[in-house]
């Protein structure tokens, strides 16, 4: 008896009991449909993220950060991400490009309106990587020293603009207010000529023998000096301006590690702003103090430290080797590929959780299969007896009934996949409409990959066959003499 014979006999038997078969198969259809719709949601999200990673070239991107204090150890000073570090990182085998995240606060003026926004410098070579090469309108700047600027949709939003194309070719004035170290230093020395005399008079020389008095006086003088330095630093600010042409609007980018500042400047323009002085942002002064670079701002860009350096890496070189080299230099690497692997694990469990709902429905449907098969055996005892009298053994009868339940599972699975997919299509259309209304670009949240189709069919058949096992074993044990006597 071939498998084809078994399927033909099973299909014939099932088609005779149309209503019962229809109801039993319907149970499997609903269960598999639920399973497919649920897991399709997880698979859709997984696919969307995977495509985003691929599109942005994140699999070949490595971010480098300073070691955290805990990682560096209490006794070790974390190595700064400065120009020297940038040079070393760019020489690691497999690193195609290394560029820093170099941001500053600027004022952007467009026609009559102006606003304060963050800007970052990017070398032209970085703009050519996939991470920055997708434009909603226009293109990248033509050179590292071009008087051009690229913006993000966020800036358009800030200016209240809707059409990216309308901005291309417009003039944007970028200015930065800088405070120089010279004015701070000048402030240290009081302008009042009698100040030294007053200070000398105020000192109680006999009390200088007391340590507490000495400390008090030292603190007072230091506090006054700092106050004069900071006031001098911020009071004498200059405005540095550059008139640039908007040449491109980048694609929308999410938040997090791939976020971009609203304005992207060529490195030479950014360097010009940097060399003019320290930003009037108080946090810039604080950073300079903490990094010990207050007195080297004007001249030495090499002493400036970056919060992050991005590496564009050759996908053919093992990521681990590059990460290890970065770690050996005393930095902390962050790999998007490794993060993706972690996300894959998350999605595995997410899909598993979603599939549980469908599986519960399938267990319920399997009870229907058991019922159908048991009923079928009771009705077909005589037929089983005849088959045994013709030479069928227990195995033949068992397989015959298992194939029958398998056919229920297979038909139910195939129809269930179609139904489940239909449900996700409807859900997708509705969700996309909501997204459009909320101003979010329509994202496809459902996917039906081949593995899901195969899994659904396999799960449907396996559960159905498992459900048919007990009835099939009962059928196999039917005594032919008893069955044929039962007329």
């Amino acid at each position: 008896m071939t498998f084809r014979d078994l399927v033909a006999i099973s299909a014939g038997n099932l088609s005779r009991m149309k209503l019962r078969t229809f109801l039993t198969v319907s149970g499997v259809v609903i269960a598999i449909g639920t399973f497919v719709a649920m897991v399709s949601f997880g698979a859709g999200n997984q696919k969307y993220i995977s495509e985003q990673y691929e599109e942005l070239g994140l699999f070949s991107t490595l971010q480098v950060h300073r070691l955290s204090k805990t990682a560096a150890g209490d006794s070790t000073q974390a190595r700064p991400l400065d120009q020297q570090a940038l040079n070393e990182l760019s020489k690691i085998p497999g690193v195609r490009l290394a560029y820093p995240f170099d941001a500053m606060t600027v004022t952007a003026a467009l026609a009559d309106s102006q606003l304060s926004a963050k800007a970052q410098a990017l070398p032209l070579s970085a703009m050519q990587t996939r991470l920055f090469s997708q434009f909603r309108a226009g293109h990248s700047f033509s050179s590292d020293s071009a008087k051009e600027v690229v913006v993000t949709p966020q800036l358009l939003h800030l200016f209240g603009l809707t059409h990216p194309d309308s901005l291309i070719g417009d003039t944007m004035v970028i200015s930065i207010r800088v405070a120089t170290i010279d004015s701070g230093l000048a402030g240290l020395i009081p302008r009042d000529s009698g100040w030294i005399r007053q200070q000398v008079r105020a000192i109680q020389f006999d009390s200088l023998l007391q340590s507490a008095y000495r400390q008090r006086q030292a603190k007072r003088l230091t506090n006054e000096a700092i106050s004069r330095f900071v006031n001098g630093f911020f009071e004498h600010r200059a405005i540095v301006k550059e008139t640039l042409t908007v040449v491109g609007v980048l694609e929308e980018r999410g938040a997090g590690r791939t976020r971009m500042e609203p304005i992207v400047l060529p490195v030479a323009i950014a360097a010009k702003f940097r060399s003019s002085g320290l930003s009037d942002d108080p946090s810039a002064l604080f950073t300079a103090f903490s990094q010990g670079t207050v007195f080297s701002l004007d001249s030495a860009a090499s002493s400036r430290s970056y919060p992050q350096i991005t590496l564009d890496i050759d996908p053919n070189v093992p990521l681990k080797a590059i990460s290890d080299s970065v770690r050996a230099m005393g930095f902390e690497p962050f790999s998007f590929a490794q993060m993706f692997e972690e996300m894959q694990k998350f999605f595995f469990y997410f899909n598993l959780a979603l599939s549980v709902v469908g599986l519960i429905a399938l267990v319920t449907a399997s009870l229907g299969i058991v019922n159908t098969m048991v009923m079928s055996i009771l009705e077909r005892r005589r037929e089983i007896g005849v088959l045994k009298s013709l030479g069928a053994d227990d195995r033949h009868i068992r397989i015959l009934f298992l194939v029958e339940s398998g056919v229920i599972g297979a038909v139910g699975s195939v129809v269930g996949i179609l139904v489940g997919w239909g449900v996700t299509r409807i859900a997708s259309v509705i969700i996309k409409q909501f997204m459009m209304k909320s101003g979010v670009g329509p994202i496809e949240l459902f996917a039906l990959p081949l593995w899901l189709i195969l899994t659904a069919v396999a799960v449907g058949i396996v559960v159905s066959v498992a459900a048919g096992y007990y009835p099939a074993s009962r059928a196999a044990k039917v005594d032919p003499v008893e069955a044929l006597r039962n007329e």
């Binding site: 005779r16 088959l387 009298s389 013709l390 030479g391 069928a392 053994d393 227990d394 032919p480 044929l484």
Partner: protein, 231 residues
Amino acid sequence: MIRTNKVCRHYIRGPQIIKAVDEVSLAIEEQEFVAVVGSSGSGKSTLLNLLAGLDSPTAGSIEFRGTTLNNLSRRGLSQYRAKSVGIMFQSFNLIYHRTALENVELALYFNGGSRGERRTQATSILERLGLADRMGHRPADLSGGEQQRVALARALVKKPALLFADEPTGNLDQDNATQIMALLSDLNRQGLTIVIVTHDLEIAGEYAHRMVRMHYGRLVDHQSEGHGGEA
């Protein structure tokens, strides 16, 4: 060809032991036509079930061409039923939702052979038994005689060495009964060994070479040289 040695089939029903077949020793030779006769409940159908491998004895042994059936596994017995014996029943036992042709084909499912071969053999035997125009009919659309001929075709299609028939004329009218018995007699003359169970002594006497009588599970009488040998 097939012989039983003090074969028993006892059933235990509560405190009672029912001796359906009790110490029956019987030898059937090649090409014989044997009729097992006896009143209802005499154990003749049980003996037939034992000989056909549908049931197993509780004591004694059955030997078919040198192989002891008692020693065969359940699968071995199935093989014996699939390849060596054909069985006919009083109530035909055709599968009602299958056509005559499909019913006959069913006997070949467990015997190897391709779908095409099955179809050819089934068609051929039905034509031989005069059912060429009834092949596509379901049992409900056939007369009693036609149904029994389909059952005979199903038993014969696998070319068995032994044919067992349990009351083959029990549900048939006189004409159809005569036709079926004539067919069996013809097949026997062509070399087929046949064992029938019947309570109709007239039929047994007319067609069988030998009659064995059962009474309360025991063999009580052998009567050789019935009219069948001369028919």
